[in-house]
Symmetry: C2
Amino acid sequence: MAHEPVCTVMMKLLTISLKRPHAAYIEPGVLLSSSFFDDCRSVAERWVIIADHTTEKLFGHQLQKNLYERGLSVELVAFKSGEGQKTRQTKEWLEDQLLQKGFGRDCGVIGLGGGVVTDVAGFVASTYCRGLPLILIPTTLLGMVDASIGGKTGVNTPQGKNLIGTIYQPHAIWIDPLTLNSLPFVEYKNGLAECIKHGAILDPTYFAFLEEERVQILTKDPEVLPTLIGESCHIKKTIVEEDEREQGMRRLLNFGHTLGHALEVVTRYALPHGQAVAIGMVGESWLAKELGILPEDAFDRIYSILKNYGLPTNLPEGISASDLLQAMQHDKKAKAKVPRFVMLEEIGSCLECEGEYCQSVEPQLVERMIESLPRQ
Amino acid sequence: MAHEPVCTVMMKLLTISLKRPHAAYIEPGVLLSSSFFDDCRSVAERWVIIADHTTEKLFGHQLQKNLYERGLSVELVAFKSGEGQKTRQTKEWLEDQLLQKGFGRDCGVIGLGGGVVTDVAGFVASTYCRGLPLILIPTTLLGMVDASIGGKTGVNTPQGKNLIGTIYQPHAIWIDPLTLNSLPFVEYKNGLAECIKHGAILDPTYFAFLEEERVQILTKDPEVLPTLIGESCHIKKTIVEEDEREQGMRRLLNFGHTLGHALEVVTRYALPHGQAVAIGMVGESWLAKELGILPEDAFDRIYSILKNYGLPTNLPEGISASDLLQAMQHDKKAKAKVPRFVMLEEIGSCLECEGEYCQSVEPQLVERMIESLPRQ
């Protein structure tokens, strides 16, 4: 697990070597450091901070003031909070704000918020004047360990999540663990679901760390946060560097996500992403167990860690198996409408079959999997 | 001029070595060749042809039938013709068509039409499931020599042209000169404006060819079309290979376009692109002449060739200088609202100043330039 030193002082956490190599920085209070301001100034003198109404109030106005006091021109534009706002309409509204303010190619975009904000801000940046420089400041655990790394941007449509979007790398990612203090506990746990996923697919040591340090992690103990965030970022970085365009190994990150995305679609995004992925990991581990790929005891560890972290493992009420199956057939990974799943074969490793990390599963077995899930 | 052989038989015209290297093919009747069908099949088995109502009728139904008969699954989706349709709304409508038909990552997009169609189809392809394979079939001269090469995609907004878009390279470009037979003469001349621009900025031999072969070119003589198209494509390819992301040399292609785009904005795109660029080249050459950069006789050759090809060199009626200036201040190239222009210094070469190919011009001189243009 200890690939790179854990960050307790100001440091560059990671260099992410993609088409546009960029750095992720982590430190409590980093957004007040001269390194941060210098980095912004090196890219553009005029910025727009894109936030949602929550992060606008919590951090946006202060950040705008701080940048302004360092001589930068900064606008702040915020949209309504929530996954339901991750739409083409929100993107268009943001673009209209930038157009009306006369933003051109010499300006930059700061995405300040959770995954919804950084995904939408990244999408706006990637198509405005055919691409503006982008700095991401994730303020949720999910945003820090997942959404901000790898360059995926996008919006949802009624047919599914992230069906419209781009792959667009930021100039840099700045992570301040202090922002997690204001994060509601339920949102924090949504991020933990992705941390658990990262351990499950690639790093048994990190998975064991999550099992062992559960109490400190759940209480946001400042001693464990850098390891929690840093190692999880490192796993995501390792995978996306290997496969920027999701043609191979990056598929691993979809563990729990075929069913998870379908649950989000069927509940019209009322079910938060992390909770949907938690249930997804249970269902998809069940498939792997049933197909003789995943040992029973490994399945039990997946189920137990999710339970112990207070993440849902049951199917929400009023969900029909056929609706779920239909949503999975519309999933981006589906081939000829047959849904495909990442198959865990052990804690920390997944099945790879002739270069494919996703396996097609016949609809009857998928239906049995859905029925196997306990109902709320 | 003779960098690569001129195409009179089926051949690969160009290999365009960008992030995603791809080929441009040219031959009369090439869309009925097995090479074309094999190329489509090698990329995807399911395709959507995006056309406008004009190219749908002229070529779309036949192309769909031909591909279908070769065992491919092909949908045809067409939007209303015209620059006014190059909007975020049209993009969204096209996406909805694809979503409703259940298109996923394993599908491909064929853009069939002029620059409006290939720009919009390319933009749709670049953000649908974060990027589908794209084949371009330009059917106008402007589309062949300009829009299809270099990967620029985009849509217009009331504030300006192509302010929202991506740079996204196609898998291949297939050019059939026969499609020009059905192209209205006025549209053909719009393409010739870009050919003239290509000669003016980079290739004095090609510029002389355009002066000398004017009669054959204006009558669409099949003997000269391959040279007309092939050499113009070659100039564009040379520039975009040098500078995919428009940070340097690609700016040259904006000759005539700062004023040209402003004219399109002010006339709400009633003035066709080629005509706007023709007037733009006159105005911007005047600036270069006035600043002592371009010799008088070179200015005269620019003015004469446009006149002789029957392209407009006058300002359309009812255009105010202040509206034009304001539109230029919103141009993507503008820095701190000061418009910038490519400065011709000779037929076939432009001013480069410390790596910059665009020069800021004070508003007073821009206003004098506008006043210098003859009115209709």
